[in-house]
């Protein structure tokens, strides 16, 4: 196998993974915040968008943990 030493690769991967986390954080807000906003427009309320944003934040952080946190 020509695989480089595992240690070097994983540290490098962790360091560069930071750059791709941003995408997950943004899409969490867009998806669940967007759904909350639509529900708000539909029901004429104004608090569901906040719940949506929080759910989005939470699930994107959960997803980041799933992708990069557990080894």
């Amino acid at each position: 196998m020509t695989e480089p030493p595992h240690e070097a690769r994983s540290s490098r991967g962790e360091e560069s993974a930071l750059w791709s986390i941003l995408g997950y954080l943004i899409s969490g807000q867009i998806v669940w915040g967007g759904i909350g906003w639509l529900i708000d427009r539909w029901l004429g309320t104004s608090f569901v968008v906040l719940i949506g944003l929080l759910v989005g934040m939470g699930s994107s952080i959960y997803l980041v943990w799933l992708r990069y946190g557990r080894r």
Binding site: P4, A8, R9, R12, G23, Y24, G28, V55, L63
Partner: protein
């Protein structure tokens, strides 16, 4: 403070309009400065690397050494470290991407040219679309279309209920947010940087035409302009690096089969 002092005198602060340049000749959208800069960058890059590689010797000349260190940087630090053992296939793409973005960015501070091509948003869009196509193509080729999509949508080892939360995020991230953030990051950095330089340098020039008190402030504006030019150089290199790094990361993600 400087800007406040000049605004009363009819100073027009630079705006997004300053990025829409008229055609150099003729009357169409294809003969503007950014287009020529792109062609110039291609000519410069190819000339440089052809010259650097032409008389390749074991004991390298200065030119060969310069060319090889750029190539080695992309191959080892970006491709090899991030992608892993299949990296060699992607070195040509990553190398082209890196040098192309780097040279076009640096045009922003080269005297006489002084326009970062990537501050016109269509160029980063196209580059991001290419990266988007490359990493999805690689993933589909490696794992098969069905398995690749399933891998994105349903990560193994996650409780079933969590998929409701996560699957939309994964889809949006992979198919929309990634190319969008990739292009907008590059565009916004180049746009803002160029605007900043315009503010201080045009502002300094405008101050010179004011009363004696304003004339005395003017050198400070120019000085900050010069400092920011060096800062811009750093940002330009960094953005070229990040764009290439993220392309490599996305390719690595598409290649990795998670068990």
């Amino acid at each position: 403070m400087i800007r406040l002092a000049t605004e009363g005198e009819g100073f027009k602060p630079p705006s997004a309009k300053d990025f829409v340049l008229p055609p150099i000749f003729g009357d169409n959208a294809f003969t503007t400065k950014p287009i020529f800069l792109v062609f110039l960058s291609v000519i410069l890059i190819s000339t440089f690397f052809i010259l650097a590689a032409r008389k390749a010797a074991v004991v390298p000349s200065k030119l060969q050494y310069a060319g090889e260190s750029v190539y080695g940087f992309v191959r080892d630090n970006l491709a090899k470290d991030v992608i892993g053992h299949e990296f060699m296939r992607f070195v040509p793409y990553l190398f082209t991407l890196f040098t192309f973005i780097l040279v076009n960015n640096i045009f922003g501070i080269v005297p006489m040219l002084q326009f970062p091509t990537m501050s016109r948003v269509s160029f980063p869009y196209v580059l991001a679309i290419i990266t988007f196509l490359v990493f999805h193509y690689v993933g589909v080729r490696k794992q098969g279309a069905f398995k690749y999509i399933r891998e994105i949508m349903f990560m193994p080892g996650v409780p079933k209920a969590a998929y409701i939360l996560i699957t939309p995020l994964e889809l949006l991230t992979f198919f929309l947010v990634r190319p969008l953030t990739l292009s907008l990051r590059l565009f916004a950095n180049m746009f803002a940087g160029h605007l900043l330089l315009l503010v201080f340098i045009l502002g300094g020039e405008h101050l010179l035409q004011g009363v004696i008190g304003l004339k005395l402030i003017s050198p400070f504006a120019f000085f900050i302009g010069i400092v920011l030019t060096f800062f811009e150089f750093m940002v330009q290199c960094l953005q070229a690096y990040i764009f290439t790094l993220l392309s490599a990361l996305y390719i690595a993600g598409a290649l990795a089969d998670e068990h």
